[in-house]
């Protein structure tokens, strides 16, 4: 009986931690800019909850309880460190009104500021996503390290360094002004999408870790939409992630075999997720030029159409890619364009598009070689196709993809 109460409490703490982590870290650090101390204080509070709540019951407002406890801990921490004395009055002030504020609807949600801080131009772009995953969602450094293919020790050090930079580098907790908003928002969206991409690549259905990271990214996308409901690109990103996520069950055969998009059974796609994605796309207000994420979501929307029509409108996809290249001529976009043109206008046209990419840029870029191999094979150029397949196989990380390509290579 006692054990089950403890288990219940444990689950409550976990749930509150998940839902409130980012809100509390953002609120606690927005005045001091000291994210690391805010996180330390919050973990102390979560530890305290694990002892206090089974004994005294879960408080009526767990978030307020955590904030009060974390605030005490933060003041102790700061006194102990003998640093940032100047911010102590702010902290004390924070302490007096926090409980009332958090109970009232006016309790400020500072997560948006925290997201912009994580993706600040002064922070190493490679650290934008890890910082977000840690400070907004509370993921630990080891898990982030696995996902980013970095040693846990190194990831820990990089996170600490980034947080020191936030504290000492004069980075303000603020939502950027209109004139720089677009660019700064793009960095936030990019960081969320990077988390999704890692989750997506990480062997669907096999590796629970990867699956979780894609879900975390969608969660971040929802948080952002809640905070910026008027931004079209925020809806675009969420639509894009939902469209991709909808196909997860179809990406692997029952035996774990890799199934390419065109061969997926569209009945296995999640219709509710596709519908939600479509709603976001439809609601994205179109002011001026359509943004990158809306275009990428539109491409996925065309693919999703196959569930209804039974065919893929490649010409429409190629057209969206053309617009996308104008905004963001990345390797991924250009390779995607070549693949679409190859389907719409034939393999020669696709190869011509691939030949327009600088060979130095693709020496370690797997999708380029997979598309090239596919197009050459369709043209019956067996030897050239085999060489391209080898490159694609050698650069593949996912054993299921490797196996698939080995079979196609023949």
């Amino acid at each position: 009986m006692n054990g089950s109460i403890q288990e219940d409490t444990h689950r409550t703490v976990e749930r509150v931690a998940r839902e409130s982590y980012g809100r509390l870290v953002a609120y606690l650090s927005s005045h001091t800019r000291d994210v690391a101390s805010a996180e330390d204080a919050l973990s102390n509070a979560l530890l305290a909850a694990l002892t206090a709540w089974p004994r005294n019951g879960v408080p009526q407002n767990p978030e307020a309880w955590l904030l009060t406890t974390a605030r005490h801990s933060l003041i102790d921490l700061m006194r102990h460190q003998q640093v940032a004395l100047a911010s102590e009055p702010t902290l004390l002030l924070l302490g007096e009104d926090s409980t009332e504020m958090i109970l009232s609807p006016e309790f400020p949600d500072e997560r948006l500021k925290l997201l912009f801080v994580c993706a600040h131009p002064a922070i190493d772009p490679a650290m934008h996503t890890p910082l977000m995953l840690q400070t907004v969602l509370g993921l630990d450094a080891v898990r982030i390290a696995h996902a980013f293919l970095v040693s846990p020790k190194t990831m820990g050090q990089r996170l600490v360094r980034s947080k020191t930079k936030i504290r000492d580098g004069g980075i303000q907790f603020e939502v950027p002004q209109e004139r720089e908003l677009a660019q700064r928002l793009d960095a936030v969206l990019e960081a969320i999408y990077a988390a999704f991409g890692i989750g997506w690549d990480d062997m669907a259905g096999v590796d629970q870790r990867g699956r979780d990271l894609a879900e975390e990214a969608i969660w971040l996308g929802r948080v952002l939409l809640e905070l910026m409901p008027g931004e079209a690109e925020v809806r675009g990103l969420l639509a894009l992630m939902l469209h991709c996520e909808a196909r997860r069950p179809a990406r692997r055969g029952p035996d774990g075999r890799f199934v390419p998009l065109l061969e997926q059974d569209s009945r296995q796609w999640s219709q509710p997720m596709i519908e939600e994605a479509e709603q976001h796309l439809a609601q994205a207000p179109s002011r001026g030029r359509t943004g990158r994420f809306q275009l990428e979501a539109a491409i996925q929307s065309v693919h999703a159409e196959r569930a209804r029509s039974g065919r893929t409108e490649w010409a429409a996809i190629a057209l969206f890619y053309e617009q996308l290249i104008r905004i963001s001529p990345t390797l991924g976009t250009r390779t995607g364009y070549a693949a679409a043109v190859g389907e719409a206008n034939g393999p020669e046209a696709g190869l011509a598009a691939l030949d327009g990419i600088d060979p130095d840029d693709v020496s370690a870029y797997q999708p380029y070689w997979a598309v090239r191999a596919h197009l050459l094979q369709r043209l019956g150029k067996t030897a050239e196709a085999a060489a391209a397949f080898d490159r694609a196989i050698g650069l593949a990380e996912d054993p299921a993809v490797r196996q698939f390509l080995l079979q196609r290579r023949g």
Binding site: V150, A364, R391, I393, G394
Partner: protein, 123 residues
Amino acid sequence: MQFALMIYHSPEEFAIRKNDYNDPHLGAWRAYYKALVEAGVYVGANALEVPETGTTVRLREGKRTVQDGPFAETKEQLAGFIILELPSVDAALEWAARCPGASISAVEVRPLAPEAMRRGFTG
């Protein structure tokens, strides 16, 4: 910077590999090798015979001891190594993840000692 990618195998994997060169992963290894060379990062590589063929020699107080088998008696043993020239450990980990050895067993990435030190050994 140069990095060693050290590939470790379990006895079962060594047994599969030894089996008349019918290694089911041969195609993947060949493709990986080509990708490394084409990307311009390949320095050298080699595979080792099975651990039972190893002999370990020690000299203690002028006395020789010779032991059958590999130096360390662990389940997984060094099966081969690849030396790569890369800008950073991050890049080395990326190549390690693509290595067929990573999904078959495990790959350890370690930087080679600094060149000055290596030159000290070779004179």
